[in-house]
Every structure is written in C-alpha cells, then in structure tokens.
C-alpha cells in the first residue's frame, strides 16, 4: 500500500493505482471524459489534468500512477487553469445545441462545463461539422457532438470483443465511424450509448420521446437471460420509456445486453392483451374478469372431476417464482401432477436423479478467475451475451484456456484454445473420449466412481487427439508450463439442455468435472429457470412432464405465458396437442397467433407491471416491484392465479401480496438460506451410457435465435431489425450441400415427422457434417424436435 495526499486528504492505495482511482476512492471528483474504469486508459481528453507536487506540468490523473508520498492538488490554481483550458478546447467545436440534444440533462460535458462557469467564447471561427453515420437500428448518431474520447471504440473492441467502430482520419478531421455502411452488430452495443459522455450516440428507439428529467426511475431485474442483471426501468406517464443498467459489479458490472435494454419496446406492443377474451363459436369476444375467470374455473373443474390427469399445466421459462408456485398449487389443488416449465427440453431421463436444483455451480465473477473452462453445447453470444464477457476476460486477463464442444462453430469473439464442432449426436461420443482421456491423466481410479457399464463402454472408445487436448487442458497441462491446481469449470449451455441425449451428456460432463475437481454448472436457459425449479413448477413424481404432456395430448391445458409453437421443444407436437384439446386457457401478456387454439385468454402483466421474484443462474433470488401499472385490464399473474384458486374453492390461496407467496415458497425462511441448501448439481447415480452411431441421417440443429427468446423480445421492433429478421433459413456446410446435390441460395423443403416448410438454403461452414441448422421462428413452426432427424429436398 502507498500513502499519498490528495487536496490535503491522506489516502492509502494499492501499488499501481492511478491518481483517479485514488481520488475516486475518497470521493474527490476529478472531471473526466475518456477515462472509464472498465476500459483501457487512453488519456486523450486531458480533462483530468491535476497538479502534482514536484512536476512542472499538470498530469492526467487517469493515466498517472501514484507513488509513495505523492501530493496531488485537484483544485489548485494550476489544476483549474488546465482543466478550464481543456474545457474551452472541447467546446470550441462542440455545437451548443443542448436544448435539442437528446443527451440534455444527462450530459457529462454539459454537467462539467456548467461547473466551470460560462465564459464568452473566444472562438470566432467556423465550427466543425461531421457527417452522421448510420450504425444500425439501435443507436442514433450525431457525430458533430462527438468529442473523440474513443470510449465507444475501446468498449466494442475490449468488452464487445470485436473492433466495430474506429476513429478514422487524422487531427481535427478524425471521426468515429463503422466500416463504410456497416451497422454495429454487437449484441452488447447499447452500452456505448451510456458510455458516450455527450449526445453523439443516443438510443434510436428512445430518441426524442422524453427528456431525462421527466423520467421516474424504478429498479428492476432483467428478464431475458439467466444473469439477473440489475436494470433501471425509466417511466413517463405510466409507460416504460427506456431501460438502463444499474451498476452491480458482481452481476452485470455496469453493462446490460441489447436484449435487456431494448426489449421494453415489446411491452408497449400493439399485440398486448389488455382485456380478458373468450372464444365463442370461433370468435374472440371481450369479457370481464369475473365472468372469464368463472368460466375458466368451471371448465377446469369439469375436466378435473372426470380425470385430473387429463389436465396439463405449462409455465413459461420466464414466469416469476410466484406465478410458478401458484400454478403448481392450482394444479395440485385440482389433483393434477402435470406441471412443468421445462418446455424446451426433450430428455427427462434424469428426473428423480438430481440431488437438488441444478445451477451454475459458482458465482458469476468466479468465471473470470478460472484457468480452464470447458463449455458444452452453447451458442454463447446468443444465449448469454453478457456472461460471455466474463469468459472473454478470463481469457484476456487470466490467460485462461477455453475449450468448446459444440454443434455450431459460431465465434464467441474470444480465442478458443481447443474445440470440437460435431453433430449433436456425436457430442456424446466426444465426451466419452474426453472422459477416457481424463481418467488416464488423473490418478483417481475410475473403477471407484464410474459404474461398470460405463467402464465397459469406455473400453471400446478410441480417443481422438482433440479430446486428449481438451482433457489435458482441464487437467492443467500447458504448452510451456503446467498449472498445479488450476481453477477449472465445466458448463452446460442451452443446446445441451435441449439435447435429446441430455441425460448422457450431463452424466459424462459431471464425471469429467468431478475427476478434474472442477466446478460443474448448468448455465440457465432463462431468467428464472432456477427459480421455477425452486418453486417446484415441476411434475409430481410419476406425472407427465412438459414433453409427455404434449406427446400424450390432454383434454385441457393451462398455459402461463407460453406461445406454444415458439416456446416448446417440438412446435409441431405443441400445436397438434393444443388443437386437439377441449379447453385451453392462456394467461398471457400478448395476443398471439400461437394461441389460436385457446378458448380463453387472460391478460397478465409482464415483469415491469407486476411484482415478483426471479432466481438467477448463480442462485440469487431477486425480487422486484412493478415499475408501472398494468396496461388496460391486465393483472399480475400471481393475482389472477390466486383468484382462480379462490374460485376453484382451493385452500391456501389467501395472499395479499406476492411477498406472501414468496414467503410460502421459502417456508418463511430467508431465501438465501434455503437456496444454498437446495442448489446441487450432483446426480444420485450415474446413468448407463452407450455410444450411438447416427450415420446416414441428417440431424437438425434447432436453436433459439438471439431475439426470439420470449414473447416480449419477439415483439420489440428495433431488436427485430437489429437481428435483421435473418432467422428463417436452413444452413449446411459446403461439403454437405455437394453431397446432397443442393444449391445454396435456392429454396428447399425441410421436413420433420410429417410437417414441412420451405426455407432459403444457405451455405454455412460453421455447421458440422450431417447437420442442418434450422432456427426456431414463426416460419418453422411446422417442424418438430429441435435436434431431431430432418430431411431437406430441393423444390423442383
């Protein structure tokens, strides 16, 4: 530690700290524009100049490391003079159009300039004008206002992982731009809006819709991935106007993904259901809550009285814990065990085998301290945009080695040390190889922990070179030196969780992890997957799960915020089952074509209009309050379910608040206490595994595109434009195209178990042999399993 003095105040700071770190630590505000604690230091704006004893010239606080005994003056005559002159320079070419600038009221330049008092401009010459750039549907530019701090450039390169913006030209002509007419493609691009200290980069969707001082700020929790990012929902006239990150170092640092930032547009979509609707003679009619709920209660009662097992309850992955809990309670009250939230799964063989609730296995920041990481089955940037930056950091700062076993070769924008890109089916075989290689490297006797049948399978496995390299990496072996006790993590992504052989992949991964003493974790497929598990929105032992409920159609379904054909493992199976049902009630935030076979639609509130709780992938239970009142007649889901419980005459539905529901979920105990006891990724017993050959068939790789994750996101127009709507396609590598005699660019017929659709065919070398990539979207709802067999034929 070093002792220094700033403006007469003593402070102890760590070696290597800069003056600005030290000043920030004791709350001395040094003005700055280019400096940002999460970015590399550029020291180009010169706003932070301060006086340092024994130095003739003022020094930039952001770039000057402190040394023992340093005496720093941030407000001395010479410091203020330097700062004032920099401010004058910054303003000579800056348009003074604050009244029409979207940044007005939250502009760092404006704030600091005011602090230096308005002097009459001494600059008589013409001001610089910079041509605007179109960098996509999310970010609006006004480049004349740019002060060349390069925060945006550094952010996209260092955090986003790809240099998408640059400062081109030289001197006074230097300007920020993307390459020619390219849009910024980063899924984390919106953060540059917050980073820009002036009004050069502003939010396109938000533009001109409100002034910052008119907005009421409400804290909330992001709803589109499992990170549990802290957000601030900003509201005007009971309408969500925009969403910004709230700083939470241990979760989202100071960022959020574009999905979490711009999804709010979907909240205000014209598709919002604002009143209960009942279908009569095939026509939707508006209804009042009372008659709608009574009607629902009666219909459900009739089915339940005949055979409660003829009911199916499907809860969306994004529902709150309270909604999940109350749905389960309604089901159980009616005597039905068929409840599930794992709509996108197809393999449930592990049910009953888990020792607890599967979770990430560690805390979010732990990820970036790891030395060796193996990710199995994840399109990282789509599934976990912000979590991926932690991996990027691990690789960059910690020299971690990242290994991937994946059916898609999409670039995670960070160096991957070892990877196997193979068909979904082959993932199991690769894991068998890795397990065998690992067991050769680790001195644990395999016989002690692996079942004999698995040992037998392993005997005949031939280990490939890449599998050996992954195994060696996990064991800490390195090219120049070996790590003694490396921090290792093995994580399963969404693709694995939706995999038809999830049980085998899970078993093998767990074994590989435990042989290496590694953290083993499941990355959450949604904002509340862990929470819905904790709230037991799961089938009772012996009851039907999300897949069997559709495979063996029920007479009646209760859907909690589900768009069946877009949210389930098999779109085909979901629509068939619902079409055949006698009665379907949908508690939903939006109207949807996918609900065409529903009989009643009950408008429930999205996360901004209800209170509730989510549990993030690291097991953090986070409750939030409504940011605005529900739209129209919509009501919070928990209230609707409570009233339904009352109307059904069920016991234990006397809740006055979501808080009370949460208390019941946790038995009145502090959630964290309960959660830490319940989170557990271990299996009670290992599964038998055989290696399977699937040669000769074409396998589908069905993924959920970045902006197709849930009903809100799907209805956010700017995000849809940013995703370029470029999701309806079938893609294969060139070798496969040649093999099958198909031609990229042509339209093809794609079929699965009787259903088919036509899609443009693409050549994509990131797709492995024997596979075709067909994402889930409204154009592919005729298809079946995400990873099922599939055929592709030319249309003649």
């Amino acid at each position: 530690m070093l002792k220094i003095e700033i403006d007469g105040k003593e402070v102890e700071v760590e070696h290597g700290s800069t003056i600005i770190d030290a000043a920030d630590k004791i709350g001395i505000a040094i003005p700055r524009f280019c400096y940002h604690k999460k970015l590399s230091v550029a020291a180009n704006c010169r706003m932070c100049l301060v006086q340092v004893e024994k130095f003739a010239k003022p020094l930039p606080a952001c770039a000057t490391p402190v040394s023992e005994g340093m005496k720093i003056f941030t407000r001395s005559k010479s410091a203020i003079e330097a700062q004032k002159s920099v401010m004058e320079f910054l303003l000579i070419n800056h348009p003074l159009d604050c009244p029409i600038c979207d940044q007005g009221g939250e502009c760092e330049l404006q704030d600091i300039a005011v602090g230096y008092g308005g002097v009459k401009s001494r600059y008589l010459e013409a001001k610089r004008v910079v041509v605007n750039k179109n960098i996509g549907p999310l970010i609006s530019t006004d480049m004349t206002r740019c002060i060349q701090c390069t925060r945006c450039v550094r952010y996209l390169k260092e955090i986003g992982g790809m240099m998408e913006l640059g400062l081109v030209g030289r001197g006074e002509h230097a300007e920020i731009t993307a390459y020619v007419d390219k849009s910024v493609a980063s899924e984390l691009s919106g953060n540059i809006i917050d980073l820009c200290p002036v009004g050069a980069l502003t939010s396109k969707p938000f533009r001109y819709s409100a002034r910052s001082w008119e907005l009421i700020h409400r804290p909330s929790i992001a709803a589109h991935d499992g990170l549990g990012s802290h957000i601030e929902v900003q509201v005007k006239n009971n309408r969500v106007m925009r969403v910004l990150p709230r700083e939470k170092e241990s979760i989202n640092e100071c960022w959020i993904s574009d999905r979490d930032r711009f999804s709010y547009e979907g909240l205000n979509s014209v598709d919002r259901l604002t009143t209960p609707m009942i279908k009569q003679n095939g026509e939707w009619r508006e209804a009042d809550w009372k008659s709608a709920l009574e009607y629902v209660a009666n219909r459900l009662k009739v089915v339940a009285e005949q055979d409660a097992n003829d009911l199916g309850f499907l809860v969306s992955l994004n529902s709150t814990m309270e909604e999940g809990w109350l749905t389960k309670k309604v089901a159980r009250g009616l005597g039905c065990g068929n409840v599930d939230h794992r709509l996108r799964r197809s393999d449930f063989r592990l049910d009953g085998n888990f020792q607890g609730t599967p979770w990430m296995g560690c805390n979010i920041p732990d990820l970036q301290a790891m030395d060796r990481v193996l990710i199995i089955g994840s399109n990282l940037r789509n599934e976990h945009p912000l979590l991926t930056t932690r991996l990027r950091n691990a690789v960059k700062m910690n020299e971690a080695e990242l290994s991937l076993i994946n059916p898609l070769d999409d670039d995670p924008l960070t160096p991957v040390a070892h990877k196997v890109i193979c068909s979904p089916n082959d993932m199991v075989n690769i894991l068998l190889q890795v397990l065998k290689a690992v067991s050769g490297l680790q001195r644990l006797s395999l016989c002690l922990c692996l079942p004999s049948s698995l040992l037998k399978t392993l005997e005949s496995v031939e280990v490939s070179e890449m599998a050996t390299r992954i195994a060696m990496s996990l064991a800490g072996h390195g090219t120049s030196y070996d790590l003694v006790s490396p921090k290792v993590g093995v994580f399963l992504g969404n693709i694995t969780q939706y995999h038809p052989r999830y049980a085998e992949i899970y078993t093998l991964s767990e074994a590989i992890a435990s042989l290496n003493g590694a953290t083993f974790g499941v990355l959450s497929e949604s904002n509340n997957r862990v929470g819905l598990n904790l709230a037991r929105a799961l089938p009772q032992r012996g009851a039907l799960n999300a897949r069997t409920m559709l495979e063996q159609p029920r007479r009646a379904y209760v859907l909690v915020n589900v768009e069946p054909e877009l949210d389930c493992h098999s779109a085909q199976m979901a629509s068939k089952a619902l079409a055949a049902a006698d009665f379907v009630v949908a508690l939903t935030t939006h109207k949807s074509h996918a609900l065409r076979d529903a009989d009643v639609m009950l408008p429930i509130a999205p996360f901004t209009e209800t209170s509730g709780s989510y549990t993030s992938m690291e097991g953090r239970v986070q409750s939030f309050a409504a940011a605005v009142k529900p739209l129209g007649e919509a009501r919070p889901g928990w209230k609707v379910l409570r009233v339904l419980g009352n109307l059904l005459g069920l016991e234990g539905f006397d809740f006055d608040s979501s808080e009370q529901v949460k208390n019941e979920i946790f038995d009145g105990v502090k959630p964290s206490r309960v959660v830490w006891n319940r989170l557990n990724n271990n299996l009670s017993h290992l599964l038998e595994i055989t290696s399977q050959d699937k040669s000769g068939v074409l396998q589908r790789i069905g993924e959920f595109p970045l902006y197709q994750t849930d009903a809100i996101v799907r209805r956010a127009p700017s995000l849809q434009k940013a995703g370029k709507n470029d999701i309806a396609f079938a893609a294969m590598n060139s070798a496969m195209l040649e093999n099958l005699g198909l031609e990229a660019g042509k339209t093809v017929r794609v079929s699965q178990s009787g259903g088919s659709c036509t899609l443009p065919l693409r050549c994509d070398e990131r797709v492995p042999d024997a596979c075709v990539r067909v994402p889930v979207c409204s154009d592919t709802v005729a298809l079946g399993d995400l990873f099922g067999d599939i055929t592709v034929e030319a249309i003649l």
Partner: protein
C-alpha cells in the same frame, strides 16, 4: 482482387513481423495494393484487411491516417509538391503556379485526360533539395526550376 505478384509482395512484408502480428504489415500491404490498383477503394481496403485477418475498420483507420494513401481515384501521375517552410522559402509557390498553369488545373485536381493529379504535400524530409515534388509517391524530383518542371512533365507519358 490483387495479383499474385502483389500478394507475394505482401507475404514478403509479413515475414518481417511475428506470426501473431500480421497487422504490422497493413501499411505496406495498402501501399502495394495502391501501387497495383492506383487508389484504395473501400473494397480494396476490406480485401487487404481480410487477407491480414484484421477488422476492416482497423485497416480503414490506417488508410485514412497516412497522407500518401489515395482514397479516391487519382491521375496516372500524382504529383505531390512540398510547400512547407524550406520549400516555401525557396519559392515553391513558383513551382506550384507553373504546374497549375502548364496543366490547366488547380492543386487537388486532375487533368481532364486523367493523366496528372496535383497535390500539396507536407515536408518530405529532403529540404536541402527544395523546391521539390514527388511523383506517384516514388520518384523524388529536387532542385526544381520551371524549366526542369517542363522537362519532367514532358517525360510523363
């Protein structure tokens, strides 16, 4: 987009730098591309970036930073006249005037037949030979007089 010959030249430049620092060759690669194609279009810059496996914007930053890259078509001969202090003291303005007069164009323009472009340059580090200009970034012509300029222009085919 570029000839084998140019690509070979780029490869030769790449040899000067460590394997994982291909970006170091971007300046010479852009120069080689410009020599072959006359100027650097956005497509050329993107091609070079691709060849070096660097982001296109990084190559664009470089192409727009250094004076001698031409981001718009120029004449067959680009004459860049130094007008900086040492040249100015030795009456480079006379050379400029003479060039403008003989070619019938102003600084920054190209003759109608697309043969000659005139540009103003900064110090070329040859002030002892003032006044001077160079042709196509390559050939330095020093100790100019109007007569000598005439001779040089004569020689441009």
């Amino acid at each position: 987009m570029l000839s084998q010959e140019s690509l070979a030249k780029i490869d030769r430049e790449l040899n000067k730098y460590p394997e994982d620092h291909r970006q170091s060759a971007v300046m010479s690669s852009l120069r080689i591309a410009q020599d072959e194609l006359g100027w650097l279009s956005k497509e050329t810059i993107a091609f070079v970036a691709d060849y070096l496996r660097i982001p296109a914007i990084a190559a664009l930053e470089v192409a727009t930073f250094y004076n001698m890259y031409d981001l718009a078509p120029v004449g067959k001969y680009k004459i860049t006249v130094c007008t900086n202090i040492s040249c100015m003291l030795r009456e480079s303005d006379r050379i400029v005037e003479h060039l403008e007069h003989s070619l019938g164009i102003h600084m920054g323009e190209t003759t109608a037949d697309g043969k000659v472009t005139l540009k103003e340059g900064e110090c070329m580090g040859c002030c002892g030979g003032a006044p001077l200009f160079h042709i196509n970034n390559k050939e330095m012509c020093e100790h100019l007089t109007p007569e000598k300029v005439d001779q040089i222009l004569e020689g441009l085919k």
